[in-house]
Amino acid sequence: MKLLGKYVDKGMQGTVTLMPEESEDMWHAYNLISEGDSVRSTTIRKVQNETATGSSTSSRVRTTLTIAVEGIDFDTQACVLRLKGRNIEENQYVKMGAYHTLDLELNRKFELRKPEWDTIALERIEMACDPSQSADVAAVVMQEGLAHVCLITASMTLVRSKIEVSIPRKRKGSVQQHEKGLAKFYEQVMQSILRHVNFDVVKCVLIASPGFVRDQFYEYMFQQAIKMDYKLLLDNKSKFMLVHASSGFKHSLKEVLQEPAVVAKMSDTKAAGEVKALEQFYMMLQCEPAKAFYGKKHILRAAESQAIETLLISDNLFRCQDVNLRKEYVNLVESVRDAGGEVKIFSSMHISGEQLAQLTGIAALLRFPMPELEDSDDEDDENGAVGGHHNDSDSD
């Protein structure tokens, strides 16, 4: 992301001009823009003209529009951000108040105006514009018959393809079916790597699996590469790294990112840092349960007592539609910082972020034990579900 211009006045009102450069920037934009903001960007609009005789012609024109955002859609797979809203600046093509949906495009600048810029939003801009943070890693987690090809960027884990093949088991007398199925599966995984991994950007490719699947696959892949002359693979052989994982499901990525060899290679990436922080939280919960808490109610009370050492908070809490709720979380983050605590904002697109989002989206390690928090919740029953998309519907 490129910051082209920033004007924020003392009342924290103002505009920022940004230019997204890669797909991940869309994710940042998605986190920045909330309902009620106004966005100005160039777009294509279908305009209908009626001639004097009554016949109408429609034509597509590129024009610059400013809309007041009413709806935000983000496609995580394609990294496309669509903003729906009413036009607030009339021009020759579009009337005031007409609805338009803006597709933010790469390498086209947009201007974002917020009635109030909070620290979280400003931080997000800073983070998005930091070039050092772009460290891309590709990871293939696999087991027999199941593989996920993922791209891990600074703030997102994208499952590029999921391969599910049912491989016949070995049975008496017919091992061929098993081996044939396996070869077919490896072929598919290899093709998927060739298609989805951009070796110009990706620093390393992790191949993780239980047992010997990764070794078998690695062997197969380079045999095939020599046979079929896949230059791309042969040239980047040094980028491949074999790691252990307990299964081929997506969340075993967490184990992969904890692997010491992997940590050494991608130490400064956000993904690995988040996994580590969450692990610390769980360790604390195991050893000293009175020093680790989750859930909004507990955290707010702990923050009141300035007890929070590290605050883990998922960014989906800041994306909520309710302005007051967002403000509440922003204030919480600020108060923790003021009290000298550390705040880690998890990306809900990472594996650990997903887990945190499930865990009410907010958790904290305390400076000192607060057993009284634990006792207090016997009084009321409903404390759960604060997380944005976690709906706790008891339907019976």
Binding site: Q143, G145, E164, S166, P168, R169, K170, R171, K172, V175, Q177, H178, E179, P210, G211, F212, Q216, S246, S247, F249, K250, H251, S252, K254, E255, E279, Y282, M283, L285, Q286, P289, F293, Y294, G295, E354, Q355, L356, A357, Q358, L359, T360, E374, D377, D378, D381, N383, G384, H390, D392, S395, D396
Partner: protein
């Protein structure tokens, strides 16, 4: 195009399957004849043959002709009754008598209705010289007599309906009474003196009609189990039986099955098919990696003559070439190149042996930590387990310590419902058949197994050597061993396992553990029938999508079968469903009582030793039968006291080591699961994280 259909050989069951779902219940459109009409009036050669052969195959033990069999008696009486009403010729009489007779018959009819045949009335009226009062007395008395005999008759009649196997030998007492009574009816005894009022008589008559007709529905010669076809069942319209209340209660009652499948009596079928066979048992072999499981099993197979000398020789030569001669027996079960090259088992190997009274399916589980998912899928199919431990110094200890597979496997099989365990102390030859070592291991294991939940009486300990074959199929020869060991050898231990109860009369449930292309058309799935019965041509529902499929073939141990029962390890050839829509771990179920499909359920779990506590939102891998599915513990409902089951704390923040709790688990994709209370086999779950089993539990509630 209906003109061009070969109506004669059409299978109407297939043809009209799902017809009603699509078109409602009107019968026109492209079929020129309604299914019921067709069934009633059209001669279907194929069907006739089927039903005859079915009759023969199913009623082998019925005696040809029983002279005093009351069935015949009944038939005769009934045939007579029918002749009476259908083809009775009025006797030749003069005009006056004719008029008297007709008025008399009318009179009697007005009192007794149609219950009595015309012939009977005519005969009686002629005998009593057209005296209305006397005729009525006589007829009604006879009727009441019949009513008293019918209960006895209907009793003997119901026996073939419920158990056709025992039908050939009805209770002699019942037969005797009915015979004498029906004889007395035929003899037409003189009318009793007491006159019965016509009004009371007419009150009795209608029940007579019912009781006579009830057991006779459909003039059926064959037992009600056989499908009603025009050839065997006469002219009755086929009645839909069996899909009554059951279906209307169920949302999935829309799935139609053949009547044969709907009305099957599982227990009876089982007795017929399996009473003369040895009982089946599935045994899983578990233990730490390199404990010698595969070698032990390979040697056992060789010694019991299930592996030919030639094959064994081949293995010996090949393993020698690789410099791994000690693996020659393991190669019997480890067949893939990868497994042989690495010298470890990776997937469950399967083979079978026969003992004196049992057919044992051996499941050779992998011992390596990474392959525990495979081991779990194997263990869900097992009835009993054989735990192999390495007696070598240091090896036993490493397997038994925390993180060793001896421990984890034993706990896993226990929580998967295996209660009988044979412990094999293997490689005892490496410590010189030392009794001290044996005892040391036994005491350690005993304490642990008791804690894991095994009853002491269900656990046996056997010393042996898988490589040398000592104490496998023959009693110990080695003097060092015979000096102190007199117990049974391994084959005897296997022989002594008790056969668990099979839930045959429950609705069908089968878990799929493998999918492959079979020979010929369609594809095969293999797995274990958990409950119920499956026959060729049955309709089944597949997995969470509830797609309907038809069973085209059944094989068990490479032998084709017509029906298989709970507990069997089988492969099924399916038609009507795409191979891509079926995955390992899905459940095949009965269309009439389908398995619940859900993404969220409540379970009662026991947390094992965990590194980090379980909280809300904890991502886990859910193991259910052969299914492995990512899931999230989405709610901690309550923590429970381990032994009393009382709620200790509502909504705990986290679950630590060795705790017990009620939790809710949510999967991303819908899965088939049953409550533990309904189906023990399908209500067990296992939660694993990062290659470690963190909890086992049972399903208590399905949303």
């Amino acid at each position: 195009m209906s003109r061009h259909r070969i109506v004669r050989t059409m299978d109407y069951n297939d043809e009209y399957d799902g017809y009603d779902d699509v078109y409602g219940h009107s019968v026109d459109d492209d079929h020129c004849i309604s299914p019921t009409d067709a069934q009633q009036w059209l001669y279907d050669r194929q069907r006739g043959q089927q039903s005859i052969s079915a009759f023969i195959s199913k009623n082998k033990d019925i005696k040809e002709e029983d002279t005093d069999n009351d069935d015949d008696d009944e038939d005769e009486a009934f045939a007579k009754a029918r002749r009476d009403s259908e083809s009775f010729q009025m006797p030749e009489l003069d005009e006056l008598d004719q008029a008297k007779l007709s008025s008399c018959v009318d009179e009697v009819r007005s009192v007794v209705g149609d219950a009595v045949s015309e012939r009977c009335i005519v005969e009686t009226s002629m005998r009593f010289d057209f005296d209305i009062q006397k005729i009525l007395d006589e007829i009604l008395n006879e009727e009441t007599k019949k009513t008293t005999t019918t209960p006895a008759k209907s009793k003997t009649l119901t026996i073939p309906a419920s158990t056709s196997a025992s039908a050939s030998a009805p209770t002699p007492a019942a037969t005797a009474t009915t015979v004498t009574q029906s004889k007395s009816v035929n003899k037409l005894p003189p009318p009793p003196p007491a006159p019965a009022a016509p009004s009371s008589g007419s009150a009795i008559a209608p029940p007579t009609k019912i009781s006579l007709k009830e057991p006779r529905r459909g003039f059926d010669i064959a037992s009600p189990k056989t499908p009603s076809s025009p050839v065997v069942s006469g002219r009755n319209t086929p009645v839909d039986i069996g899909i009554g209340d059951e279906a209307s209660r169920n949302a999935a009652g829309i799935f139609k099955v053949s009547k044969d499948q709907a009305q099957r009596n599982a227990q009876q079928l089982y007795e017929k098919e399996r009473s003369d066979q040895k009982s089946h048992i599935h045994m899983i072999v578990i233990g730490h990696v390199d404990a010698g499981k595969s070698t032990l099993m390979g040697h056992l197979l060789y010694d019991t003559g299930n592996v030919s000398q030639r094959v064994m020789h081949k293995h010996e030569q090949e393993s020698k070439k690789l410099g791994k001669q000690s693996f020659m027996y393991a190669w019997v079960l480890d067949e893939t190149g990868e497994e042989r090259a690495r010298g470890i088992t990776m997937d469950v190997g399967q083979s079978r042996i026969e003992t004196k009274s049992k057919i044992v399916t051996l499941l050779d589980a992998p011992g390596h930590k990474d392959f525990i998912p495979n081991m779990i899928s194997g263990a869900t199919q097992a009835d009993v387990a054989l735990l192999v431990v390495d007696a070598t110094r240091g090896e036993f200890e490493s397997g038994f310590e925390l993180g060793g597979q001896t421990r984890e496997h034993a706990i896993l099989v226990r929580s998967l419902g295996v209660n009988q365990l044979g412990v094999v102390i293997n490689k005892l030859d490496t410590v010189g058949w030392s009794k001290e070592r044996f005892d040391e291991i036994v005491t350690k294991l005993k304490a642990f197994l008791k804690q894991a939940g095994f009853k002491e009486s269900d656990v046996t300990f056997t010393p042996c050597s898988g490589l040398t074959g000592e104490n496998l199929t023959k009693s110990a020869q080695e003097s060092a061993l015979t000096a102190w060991y007199t117990g049974p050898h391994l084959l005897d231990v296997i022989e002594n396992f008790k056969i668990p109860e099979r839930a045959i009369d429950r609705p069908l449930r089968m878990s799929v553990s493998d999918i492959y292309k079979g020979t010929g058309s369609g594809f095969c799935i293999s797995g274990r029938i958990e409950t119920g019965v499956l026959c060729v041509n049955d309709k089944v529902l597949v997995g969470a999508s509830r797609e309907q499929a038809q069973v085209k073939g059944l094989t068990m141990d490479d032998l084709s079968q017509t029906s298989v029962f709970a507990g069997d390890q089988i492969s099924v050839t399916l038609a009507g469903v795409d191979i891509n829509n079926i995955t390992v771990g899905c459940i095949i179920s009965d269309p009439q009582i389908p398995i619940p499909v859900t993404t969220r359920f409540q379970a009662r779990i026991i947390v094992f030793n965990v590194k980090v506590p379980i909280t809300m939102g904890f991502p886990v891998l859910l193991h259910h039968q052969s299914l492995i599915e990512p899931a999230v513990v989405c709610k901690l409902t309550a923590s429970i006291h381990k032994s009393t089951g009382e709620v200790v704390k509502k909504k705990p923040r986290c679950l630590g080591n060795n705790s017990c709790a009620l939790v809710e688990v949510e999967t991303s994709r819908p899965i088939c699961i049953e409550r533990y209370a309904d189906f023990k086999e399908l209500g067990r779950i296992m939660l694993r994280v990062a290659g470690v089993t963190i909890a086992a539990g049972m399903v208590t509630k399905i949303r």
